[in-house]
């Protein structure tokens, strides 16, 4: 992705922010079928291992490296009451800020954002996931679809965060 400055007429940060907030709501409310409608048919979702944030999932072990089909299977799994790690469901609340358009190439828009995602489960301490989102969005009419969603966790190790058993 070349780092061009985004022409304001083509896409605004406000549009991107609205889109990311809408996505965050769908995730926090576990409306994962609707969330999947935000994805392109070739979408991918990555969470690199904490010590290898910049690496390639073909060469390094990740926490999550889903293609579109694996995302579909992940959603089937985590909505199933037999997904014990997420039943009862975690309550999550994510705060997104520092949204930036990094560049545009063809119909793809590279976006960066910071996030804090709080996760609550009964009888358990709060877990605070802090990090950066990296998106490749595809312009579709007056909205976007997500071609790539990469989640970089700042913690040096997952440690007390335990798992990534929900869509982070």
């Amino acid at each position: 992705m070349t780092a061009q400055i985004a022409p304001q007429t083509l896409v605004t940060r406000a549009e991107v922010e609205d889109f990311l907030y809408r996505e965050a709501t769908l995730l926090d409310e576990w409306r994962l079928d609707e969330w999947q409608e935000l994805l392109t048919d070739d979408a991918s979702y990555y969470v690199p291992s904490n010590d290898q944030p910049q690496s390639d999932h073909h060469r390094a072990l990740f926490l999550v490296a889903d293609d579109r089909e694996r995302i579909r299977q992940r959603v089937i799994r985590i909505l199933d009451p037999n997904c014990h790690a997420e039943f009862p469901k975690s309550r999550t609340r994510r705060m997104i800020s520092n949204v930036r358009i990094l560049g545009i190439e063809g119909d793809l828009i590279a976006v960066a954002a910071n996030f804090v995602c709080y996760r609550f489960r009964r009888y358990e301490r709060i877990r605070e996931y802090v990090g950066a989102y990296r998106y490749l969005l595809r312009r579709e009419g007056d909205t976007f679809r997500i071609k790539e969603r990469r989640v970089l966790i700042d913690a040096h190790e997952l440690g007390a965060l335990g798992s990534v058993s929900f869509i982070l």
């Binding site: 299977q73 014990h84 440690g159 335990g162 798992s163």
Partner: protein, 424 residues
């Protein structure tokens, strides 16, 4: 301390009970640190993690900060990451390459073989400073088996090769995946906490009884991906294929299962995609040519979860994972997990191995999070331990012939050995 048994091992009545206090007591944890972790061989790391002279990695081994490193001559060391002067950590980086480790507090500097190289202002010591005796301390013993390095704090312990007993055969079986007999730790480490006693992870790593109930969503995923999972045909089985639990000596044990879940080396399943068929056939052909048909079948068509007592697990299943864990209090553990693969693996085979890993293992996998949940629910439930004292672990006890992976024979092996070392 009076000798006390934490298990009721009644072979006549075929009943085995475990005192739940061992999973909640901080006092018992203190005894474990002395009688288990300070006496057994504990996994430190793999030779492939240190490629060149001067390479180092810092980590905690059984909770102790160490530097796992190679000196200028290439020799492997395990050094306590603690300055001899006032006790500070001397190497703060996760990994790298260095000739020297300098303590930032007063500047004491050590070579990558641990010897004390420099002390600022060393003319201030009235009798001089005996630098020879002030090298970084290290565990009494540090030995490897085929690239798997272990430390032992007990100078009188048997040699590692002897300690590992028949666990060596199962490590060999993992290494036989590689045409050159060389496996490597792949970049990317998964480190996560579990709010449960460390011994529950030992049990969970080899307990195939829990698979249908804990991992039904994984079984669904496999079915959705075109992997036929037949219901068990034989009486007494809870899994589609037969699997054994095998005692390996000195508290080590393994499962040894006929594979039904696919293996990157070398059993194709639809999940890998049509394009992978040919390469997997080639990998298998190489195995047969090198090892003979029978051994190739052992490597390719069985999966095995091996426990090296007390806290190393090598799962050779959907992929290979090397996993170790140590207690952080009676009710918490820290888990470190790596992926392991043959050094000569092609890019496509490596990518398939890593993808297969994530179908099951790790904090974002389709199974491990539910294992973690199960262990944490056990720990939460154990708050009632004093009024509900015994865990029932008699499954399969007294059974003739092979012990099944879905019985609790292998868990009893662990607990008997643990109980023995704890002085009962």
């Amino acid at each position: 301390m009076s000798a006390r048994s934490y298990i009721i091992d009644d072979r006549e009545r075929k009943s085995f009970l475990l005192d739940r206090e061992v999973l909640v007591s901080e006092e018992i944890l203190r005894q474990e640190m002395a009688q288990i972790f300070a006496r057994c061989w504990i996994y430190v790391g793999h030779a492939s993690e240190l490629r060149a002279p001067g390479d180092f990695r810092t980590r905690k081994v059984a909770g102790r900060p160490v530097i796992f490193c190679r000196d200028q001559g290439g020799a492997f060391h395990c050094l306590f990451n603690t300055c001899r002067h006032r006790g500070a950590i001397v190497c703060t980086q996760r990994d790298g390459n260095a000739r020297r480790f300098m303590c930032i507090y007063h500047g004491w500097t050590y070579g990558n073989d641990g010897r004390l190289a420099r002390v600022p202002g060393d003319d201030a010591y009235a009798n001089g400073l005996d630098k020879e005796s002030l090298a970084l301390k290290r565990p009494a013993r540090f030995e490897d088996y085929r690239g798997f390095w272990f430390m032992c704090l007990d100078p009188d312990a048997p040699a590692l090769h002897e300690y590992l007993a028949h666990a060596k055969d199962y490590i060999d079986l993992v290494i036989d995946q590689s045409p050159s007999g060389q496996m490597e730790i792949i970049a990317g480490v998964q480190e996560y906490g579990v709010a449960a006693n460390w011994k529950l992870m030992v049990e969970n790593s080899v307990d195939d009884y829990h698979l249908p109930s804990t991992h039904s969503t994984w079984l669904n995923f496999m079915a959705n991906s075109g992997v036929k999972i037949e219901p068990p045909k034989e009486e007494g089985l809870v899994l589609p294929t037969r699997g054994r639990a095998v005692e390996l000596g000195n508290g080590h044990f393994t499962t040894d299962n006929v594979n039904f879940r696919g293996r990157p080396v070398a059993k194709w399943i639809p999940l890998y995609g049509e394009a992978a068929r040919q390469e997997i056939d080639e990998i298998r052909a190489e195995l047969v040519a090198r090892l003979g048909a029978e051994r190739a079948q052992r490597v390719a068509d069985t999966n095995r979860n091996l426990v090296v007592f007390p806290n190393l697990v090598i799962n050779d299943g959907s992929s290979v994972t090397v996993r170790t864990f140590y207690p952080e209090g009676a009710g918490r553990m820290h888990v470190t997990a790596w992926a392991l693969g043959p050094v000569e693996e092609t890019e496509s085979a490596r990518a398939r191995r890593l993808d297969a890993f994530l179908t099951f293992y790790g904090p974002g996998g389709f199974a491990t999070p539910d294992d973690v949940e199960a262990l944490e629910l056990v720990q939460q439930g154990l708050a009632n331990w004093s009024d509900d004292r015994w865990s029932e672990m008699s499954r399969g006890m007294g059974k003739e012939g092979d012990q099944l992976n879905s019985d609790e024979h292998h868990l009893r092996i662990f607990w008997r050995r643990w109980n023995e070392l704890m002085g009962a």
